[in-house]
């Protein structure tokens, strides 16, 4: 049905246009060519001017109307420290390009209106004007210099890697078709070695268990990070290109198989703080699910998200992960509750290369308990694999 309507609409537009064309031509014939040319020129010039004005006003109006969509305004304020810089350079560019936009579009449509054709009218014969051309070459050059300098200063600051002595958390985001695995380094604050050849059903990231640094690494189902602490994300991919994209934090970096990348950022607002700010905006006071008018409001269901911003295949649009920024205290609590992959699923199974060995620092008494727990998990995951 929809299709029929669309096809009908297309046909109708064409038919009506053709009819209008015929009528106009008939009218022109009646009026005489010269007269109708004159009227047409007046009309077209007028509408070009109207269009020019409408374009400017429409742009300004839409900028105002959609101000909450723009970087640095309303709910779209960056939630990270470097994001503020991105937003301010965006603003600077909006202002500079906005001025150029208005001036050039006004000139274009106004001249088209003002200098509409009249038979026999004399034109100004000016093939060039060196002075003018010099000025309008140098002006954009100056404006561009401002943008380049401010942009690059911010860029080099944002993209700088962490320094050795800095206090930061390093996590790893591994992308694959079509999800993310987020690995935390555990208590030693060091991510263990991975080798893609070791990837298997029970070891999705290919962690090398002979590296003791992997033993306390854990995989989180959400990205949880403390407010105000520098985070360095190692970004990588198992199969094709993906892109680690945190819209609210102005973070974006490709995940490339076999070629590690990283992004460093400092979250500045906890999720709760951000949500409270959203309450100020009417569009977030609406129910999240339109079918359920009394359900939770949009600001309540809102959450920071991680998405993929590089086409990676059929499930590209579904690579979502929830991101939570919490206070350092909450982070500490959450962190302590996480179970390391190794001790919860691998230790002393057949996949464990250290089977039977006593690891330094491992409490011997609990190892039996862990083992039992482990076995069940492995069986379950194997069964679920078989089903697939």
């Amino acid at each position: 049905m929809t299709g029929f309507i669309i096809l009908l609409a297309i046909v109708l537009v064409v038919v009506i246009s053709v009819q209008i064309g015929k009528i106009v031509e008939l009218a022109n014939k009646i009026r005489g060519q010269e007269e109708s040319d004159r009227i047409n020129a007046d009309r077209t010039a007028f509408w070009l001017l109207v269009f020019g004005i409408a374009l400017i006003l429409g742009t300004i109006w839409s900028c105002y109307h959609y101000k909450n969509f723009m970087l640095g305004y309303g709910p779209h304020e960056a939630a990270s420290i470097h994001g503020k810089k991105v937003d301010s350079i965006f603003n600077l560019t909006v202002i500079l390009t906005g001025i150029v936009f208005v001036l050039t579009q006004v000139a274009l449509f106004y001249f088209a209106f003002k200098y509409k054709g009249r038979p026999g009218k004399k034109v100004l014969f000016i093939p060039h004007n060196n002075k003018l051309e010099f000025y309008w070459t140098i002006t954009p050059a100056i404006v561009m210099t401002i943008l380049v300098v401010s942009g690059l200063m911010a860029w080099n600051e944002i993209m700088a890697d962490v320094k050795e002595d800095e206090d930061f958390i390093e996590i790893e985001a591994v992308a694959y078709q079509f999800a993310w695995d987020i690995r935390y380094p555990g208590k030693d604050h060091k991510l263990g070695t991975r080798n893609y050849k070791l990837i298997s059903g029970t070891n999705g990231l290919g962690m090398d268990w002979t590296d003791p640094k992997t033993h306390d690494d854990f995989i989180a189902d959400q990205i949880v990070l403390p407010k105000g602490k520098k985070v360095r994300v190692r970004i990588t991919s198992k199969d094709v290109l993906h892109n680690f994209y945190l819209p609210q934090f102005r973070v974006k970096m490709d995940a490339i198989p076999g070629l590690p990348t990283y992004f460093v950022f400092t979250p500045e607002k906890t999720l709760d703080e951000y949500k409270l700010e959203l309450r100020k905006y009417p569009e977030y006071l609406e129910p999240s699910d339109p079918k359920d008018p009394f359900g939770p409001k949009k600001w309540e269901t809102f959450t920071y998200e991680l998405g993929c911003a590089e086409l990676c295949g059929i499930g590209h649009y579904s690579m979502r992960k929830v991101v939570k920024i919490v206070s350092p205290k909450e982070y500490e609590e959450w962190f302590n509750k996480q179970n390391s992959v190794y001790f919860s699923t691998v230790r002393n199974t057949d996949d464990d290369p250290n089977k039977g060995k006593v690891l330094a620092g491992e409490p011997i008494t609990t190892s039996v308990e862990t083992k039992e727990k482990v076995d069940t998990t492995v069986i379950i995951s194997k069964e679920s694999l078989n089903k697939k």
């Binding site: 609409a9 051309e133 076999g258 070629l259």
Partner: protein, 616 residues
């Protein structure tokens, strides 16, 4: 001094032009040619131009229709698409309730094909191929291209490439679906996506043939422009169209081979198991042996072509628009030499800025500094061009018709799209805007719509030369207004969606809290897109209707233009000029000089008159 009458013109050609004895060797139209040699395997540049144009129009309809289908998905993801089943077959998945929805595989195939088709087949072949072929010999005063045979081959390679691409559309696994940029590993590994198997193979073969076509054409255009100019047609007397085609051909000649290099390496990765682009991949439950390659390498090779490619698209449009604005405002183009130098500057810069498409692709942030710097420099020559176009209108006697309106629309679009490019060229802002709808809006306006506007302006303006008839003016103006307003309504709101962070190439937005709140805007965009599509159908109807039924051209020079193509017969035969080739005595922009409306290039200088181009 006054403009020339036709009789005076003919007299001038007879007296001043020269006889190259063309008709001693060739017989022009007098020679009996069969249908096949005259219309199909034809070596005449005008026929080849028409072949390029009509193939381009067919591809444009296919490409635009694809965009309508995926816009429907984006605007109305819940709508029933079962009605498309007769056209798309199994790509519409019908559930138990009889509600049809688009297969996401096919959505990505549509997006990919839309990009490939419009960028390569329509805006490269259809625009540059058409007008380079039509105008180069006519405007420089040549009988034909330097090598008519290679010129013919150029079209037939394009045709072959088209057939292969069409074949890939009907594959059971679907055409390639990894984006028109074809980044590996997605494009290199058949197991990564359905379209990366046979679809990708055909895509690569098709585009390789396409490159052959572009190179054959390009070599021909360059040598023709350099070697076959008529007497008096010095480089600084060439119309800006010819300059644009020359520079476009040079860019194509230098950038497409690098794409081929990238493609060949990709083919080896696909077919031979080499590791140029692949490293440490675990896919489909299997760890591949490939190590040491770099997917970023392909991106570098691709964008080394890819960025010049956008200028291959826009430069011919710029040339056409410069010429049309000048003719229809009855004024010389403002700053002719500045226009040429800015085109040359743009062409040069286009080769050293490619990595600005890759700021967020893992490129060394340090080297990005240079790419930002070079990229933003492009704004300067572009601004010069815009100012010159506007200054051309100033003080003119602007004649409004479909051609000049589209030219004005082009300038407006180029301004709007160019300015958003300043955001994206700045790597800092690009952190957020990369791969969002802001990018989509930007490049559709600046190289999609703007280039189409240039193409439309060119078609309306040179249709009389191609077919000896005018296109319907009223329909043309409806087409113009609808497209102008519609294009702004489609892509204006898209900027805001992009600013809000919505990534491109998403099949649906509903799984993300951040991205799912823009349904109303998406619906609005879709509705506008359908209307604009309908208007393009109107253009096609107008085009084909006018070929046979349009108003007949009665004078040789209907637009009262200075350039040489309007000194040929209304329907020029093979060899373009009957008898002598005209000689050129002045630059092509003597409009309104000394109070004379227009002075064709063939008219000698009057006593004491100065060359206008000398003072540049």
């Amino acid at each position: 001094m006054a403009a020339l009458t036709h009789l005076e013109e003919e007299k001038l050609i007879k007296e001043q032009g020269y006889n190259d004895h063309f008709y001693d060797h060739h017989h022009g139209d007098k020679h009996q040619m069969g249908f096949i040699t005259k219309y199909i395997f034809c070596q005449d540049h005008k026929i080849i131009a028409k072949q390029f144009l009509i193939t381009g129009i067919i591809w444009a309809i296919i490409g635009a229709a694809m965009s309508v289908i995926f816009r429907l998905q984006l605007g109305f993801p819940e709508a029933d698409m079962a009605w498309l089943r007769p056209f798309l077959g199994k790509w519409i998945v019908v559930n138990d309730d009889g509600i049809g929805s688009l297969d996401p595989n096919f959505y990505y195939a549509l997006v990919t094909m839309h990009g490939t088709i419009i960028v390569f087949f329509v805006l490269t072949a259809g625009l540059s191929g058409t007008f380079s072929n039509l105008l180069i010999p006519l405007q420089i005063g040549a009988r034909d291209m330097a090598s008519g045979f290679l010129n013919m081959l150029s079209y037939w390679f394009f045709f072959l490439s088209s057939v292969i691409m069409l074949a890939s559309l009907v594959l059971s696994t679907g055409p390639f679906s990894g984006g028109w940029t074809a980044y590996p590993p997605l494009s290199a590994l058949p197991q990564a996506s359905q379209g990366s198997g046979t679809g990708m193979t055909l895509w690569l073969i098709s585009l390789t043939f396409f490159v052959v076509s572009v190179l054959l054409g390009g070599v021909n255009y360059i040598t023709t422009i350099l070697n076959l100019r008529t007497k008096g047609m010095s480089m600084w007397r060439m119309p800006l169209t010819i300059w644009a085609f020359l520079i476009t051909a040079i860019i194509g000649l230098l950038s497409f081979p690098v794409l081929v290099a990238g493609f060949l390496l990709l083919m080896f990765d696909r077919g031979m198991g080499t590791s140029f682009y692949l490293s440490e991949i675990f896919i489909g439950g299997q760890a591949l042996d490939n190590v040491g390659g770099s997917p970023v390498l392909f991106q570098h090779l691709f964008w080394f072509l890819g960025h010049p490619e956008v200028y291959i698209i826009i430069l011919p449009a710029m040339g056409l628009v410069s010429e049309i604005l000048s003719v229809h405002s009855r004024k010389p183009i403002f700053g002719y030499k500045a226009m040429v130098f800015s085109m040359l500057a743009i062409a040069f810069l286009s080769f050293i800025v490619w990595a600005h498409h890759m700021f967020m692709a893992g490129v060394n942030p340090f080297i990005s500094n240079f790419f930002v710097l070079f990229t933003l420099i492009i704004a300067v020559p572009s601004a010069v061009k815009v100012f010159n176009w506007i200054a051309t209108l100033y003080g003119g006697n602007v004649r409004f018709n479909s051609a000049s309106l589209f030219a004005i629309g082009f300038v407006s679009m180029f301004i709007s799209g160019g300015l958003t490019g300043i955001f994206l060229g700045n790597s800092t802002i690009d952190i957020q805007q990369h791969d969002t709808y802001f990018v989509v809006a930007h490049f559709h306006i600046v190289m999609g719509i703007a280039a189409f506007f240039g193409m439309f302006a060119g078609i309306y303006n040179w249709f009389p030369k191609m077919y000896g008839r005018f296109m319907n003016e009223t329909l043309g103006q409806i087409h113009f207004w609808g497209t102008l307003i519609g294009a702004y309504l489609i892509f204006g709101p898209m900027h805001y969606i992009g600013l809000a962070g919505v990534p491109r190439r998403y099949f649906r937005f509903d799984s993300f809290e951040t991205f799912k709140q823009f349904d109303a805007l998406n619906q609005f965009i879709t509705v506008c897109a359908i209307i604009v599509f309908a208007l393009q159908i109107l253009f096609v109807v107008n085009f084909f209707y006018s070929i046979w039924k349009g108003k007949k051209v009665t004078s040789k020079n209907p637009w009262e233009s200075n350039t040489l193509e309007w000194t040929t017969p209304i329907k020029p035969g093979h060899g373009n000029w009957e008898g002598n080739i005209p000689t050129v005595n002045r630059w092509p922009y003597d409009y309104g000089k000394d109070g004379v409306d227009f002075i064709p290039q063939i008219k000698p200088l009057a006593e004491g008159e100065q060359h206008s181009e000398l003072h540049q």
